[in-house]
């Protein structure tokens, strides 16, 4: 008779770039239940908002997570601007959207590499990260840093990216697209990759709805849920935007959605660069501008991993009283635990990776 054993997974594990601990209850190689244990990356940075002035906190918000770092700064800054009633120039909004899409490309490439590593496709891992360097080069040139960009400020952007630079970005993206297509076509049609991914980690449309999943994880289960369809900031000016969905509901589907999103992001960037207005980039609000007492606001943006929520409440001083965020991975963890039920132990790393968990966002 099969015996139940508990297999500890993490927090230090070769396929995990980040610490999360799972107790896998296994019976003969089959996972019956996965019990997550979190808190390894908890720093408590939301509380720092009480001791920092609202302009300074952007830099802490950016350090919630290094992969979608730009997005967190963006989300916090937008929420605070809404609280203060600041209008920011269109150009700044466009630049933010362009950088957000660049972050998405870089995040998806990073993820694709890690996935390839998880099923032992080392050369693909290296190729994806090589391509990712193109985006990091763009960041280095335009923002002066590779990971933590510190270009968003409350009230706009810290500095402009001029038109010739934007054009150069588009050219670089063309090269990237060509190389990327080569890699993705090879990978998605490879029979060994397919046999590793197809049918693994199935989450049905109903389950995805019930567990309120977000981002590519939900899109791969057929849910059309993308914050960019709400047309926030510059996204409202796009001629046409439709979220990419797939009905495969398994690891392969999630892979497909993310791969296609990279092309979509490239197109969005090109469209925005062609349309970008020239009305300044905004500036820091003066010292007299303070968040109203009791005022509150929130924004929702689409991060590489899905919908992210930012909330701020003022108390009439230069500090913000409460900052709260809900990140996509915290929504998706429940789905991950569901997807892990009944799978084979060998598939566990794959499933965890196709959810693309970002633990430091989740635990902050």
């Amino acid at each position: 008779m099969a015996r139940k054993t508990i297999l500890p997974f993490g927090p230090q594990h070769p396929v995990l770039p980040e610490p999360v601990h799972l107790d896998l209850v296994v019976e003969d190689e089959h996972v019956i239940e996965a019990i997550p244990q979190i808190g390894f990356v908890h720093r408590g940075l939301e509380k720092l908002v009480e001791t920092r002035d609202y302009n300074q906190f952007v830099y802490i918000a950016e350090r919630v997570c290094g992969i979608c770092s730009f997005g967190h700064g963006y989300g916090y800054a937008s929420a605070t601007e809404k609280l203060l009633g600041l209008e920011i120039p269109r150009r700044a909004q466009y630049l933010r959207a362009i950088l957000e899409e660049l972050s998405r490309i870089h995040s998806h490439l990073l993820w694709l590499g890690l996935l390839a590593d998880a099923f032992g496709f080392e050369s693909l891992f290296n190729h994806c990260w090589r391509l990712r360097e193109t985006i990091l080069d763009i960041f280095q040139r335009t923002c002066g840093a590779r990971i933590i960009l510190s270009i968003v400020i409350v009230g706009g952007m810290a500095h402009d990216i001029d038109d010739s630079e934007l054009k150069a970005i588009c050219e670089k993206l063309d090269t990237l697209k060509r190389d990327y297509r080569e890699i993705v076509d090879t990978m998605m049609n490879d029979s060994s990759v397919k046999s590793r991914l197809c049918g693994v980690g199935y989450i049905s449309f109903e389950d995805a709805m019930e567990l309120s999943m977000v981002g590519p994880f939900a899109k791969a289960s057929g849910i059309e849920h993308d914050m960019r369809t709400t047309g926030f900031d510059a996204y409202g000016d796009l001629d046409h935007f439709e979220p990419i969905i797939s009905n495969e509901c398994d690891c392969y589907g999630r892979c497909k959605v993310r791969c296609a999103e990279v092309y979509q992001s490239i197109d969005i960037i090109k469209e925005l660069v062609a349309k970008i207005p020239h009305d300044g980039i905004g500036k820091k609000p003066g010292p007299k501008v303070l968040p109203p007492d009791g005022g509150q606001s929130h924004v929702l943006i689409e991060q590489p991993r899905g919908e992210a929520f930012y909330y701020v409440r003022g108390n009439g001083t230069k500090n913000i009283e409460r900052f709260r965020m809900r990140t996509p991975t915290s929504q998706n963890l429940a789905g991950m635990v569901r997807a892990l039920q009944g799978v084979e132990v060998a598939d566990v790393p794959m499933i965890i990776l196709t959810i693309d968990p970002c633990i430091s966002c989740t635990e902050r």
Binding site: E18, L48, N126, C358, S360
Partner: protein, 147 residues
Amino acid sequence: MGYSSKSPWLIHYDGSSCNGCDIEVLDSMMPLYDIERFGIINTGNPKHADIFLVTGSVNHQNINVVKEIYDQMLEPKVVVACGICACTGGVFRDCYNVIGGVDKAIPVDVYAPGCAVRPETIIDAVLKAVDILDEKAKKMKAEKGRG
């Protein structure tokens, strides 16, 4: 970096970092920076590793994990703190759950600053660690000879 008698292997653990430094650590092993050209290999097993790269500060939940990994590594071993969080706690120094830099948990040999730490810095730090590793090995040998 002088002549080293062996190819050091490294292990990486993410303390409570924001991921920024982690991806840079991984990046330094990728084709562009390619730390492997110095004979260095990334491993997941503490028992095989000579150099321990830690990113991020230690907090109440992970301090034991960091100590555990360090204890499982065989002598001689070197610890590199990658990123300002790992060195001192960085921007998160004042957070209620952060104890401080990695040196609050285990002895650190090389500090690599930066937020996020750049791959060039990591390479420099690791090469420095290789020298320290050699020194430690020599010392151990000498002690063994005496004993």
